[in-house]
């Protein structure tokens, strides 16, 4: 039970954070004067009404980055418990385990690097 007890402040703080942001918006809603114009509620695009909606399929290049991120984030999380009880000075086999784990991880980066994921090549005729 007491481990749950430890996270009580986290829940309390997030609820208070929600209220804390709500308050100024409500105050501003009451205080501020109103304006009504024909184009007030149009989306802003440097003064010109936009062509086509903004909710469309956007660049594919970011999907590869998301994949690599997931692969790495999970690996790094494995390292946390290792770091927690990393005894100083004895049981050298811990270090060798860490070494090969990190090398495999680094392999993923060099593979992506070789594949040219990170180079944003220019796409034009010149």
């Amino acid at each position: 039970m007491n481990s749950l007890q430890e996270f009580a402040p986290v829940v309390l703080f997030s609820v208070v954070a929600l209220l804390f942001t709500l308050a100024p918006i409500v105050i501003a809603y009451i205080l501020a004067p109103r304006t009504k114009g024909a184009r007030t509620l149009d989306t802003y695009e440097c003064g010109i009404e936009p062509y086509g909606s903004a909710w469309i399929r956007y660049g594919m290049h970011y999907y590869i980055y998301a994949l690599i991120f997931i692969a790495f984030d999970v690996d790094v999380l494995y390292l946390f418990p290792v770091a927690l009880n990393y005894a100083k000075g004895e049981r050298p086999e811990e270090f060798y385990a860490l070494l090969c784990f990190v090398l495999i991880l680094a392999l993923a980066i060099f593979y992506a690097w070789g594949k040219g994921v990170f180079t944003w090549k220019r796409k034009f005729s010149q």
Binding site: A32, G37, Y44
Partner: protein, 151 residues
């Protein structure tokens, strides 16, 4: 409460980057080191109209630019003001002749204007004086003794 809000609004007018022609360069030099507009809390030049509350129309407004100007003016939230800077914005300036087909003679045909700053281009001090006039209009009292009151 309204008085306190007006005082706060007068001291932190955030202009919108809306430079049209030659007066834009004078507007920029007004916010630079020598004629520092930051002293009056107006140095944050917000690019998007949603977050700015002062539109300085600095330059000639042509017929092709008029709908854009109206859209931008309407997209600004409520307590908003307009400074017409330079003769072009006040009355079409040097580009008014009988056969002219493309210049709008004066911004006040499009949007309600609060302060007019004459000059072609007006000196940066003139723009700061225009800002003082606007603050006087908002809060009713003036921060610096104006030129006429001194003698």
């Amino acid at each position: 409460m309204e008085k306190v809000l007006d005082l706060a609004r007068a001291n932190s007018l955030w202009p919108m980057t809306f430079g049209l022609a030659c007066c834009a360069i004078e507007m920029m030099s007004a916010s630079m080191a020598r004629f520092d507009i930051a002293r009056f809390g107006a140095e944050v030049f917000r690019p998007s109209p949603r977050q700015s509350d002062l539109m300085i129309v600095s330059g000639t407004v042509t017929k092709k630019m008029a709908p854009v100007l109206i859209t931008l003016y309407e997209q600004m939230p409520a307590p908003k003001w307009v400074i017409a800077m330079g003769n072009c914005a006040i009355s079409g300036g040097p580009f008014v002749f009988e056969g002219q087909y493309n210049v709008i003679e004066g911004v006040d045909l499009l949007v309600p204007v609060d302060v007019y700053v004459p000059g072609c281009p007006p000196r940066p001090e003139a723009l700061l004086e225009g800002l003082m006039k606007l603050e006087e209009k908002i809060t009713g009292k003036r921060r610096f003794p104006g030129p006429e009151e001194r003698w």
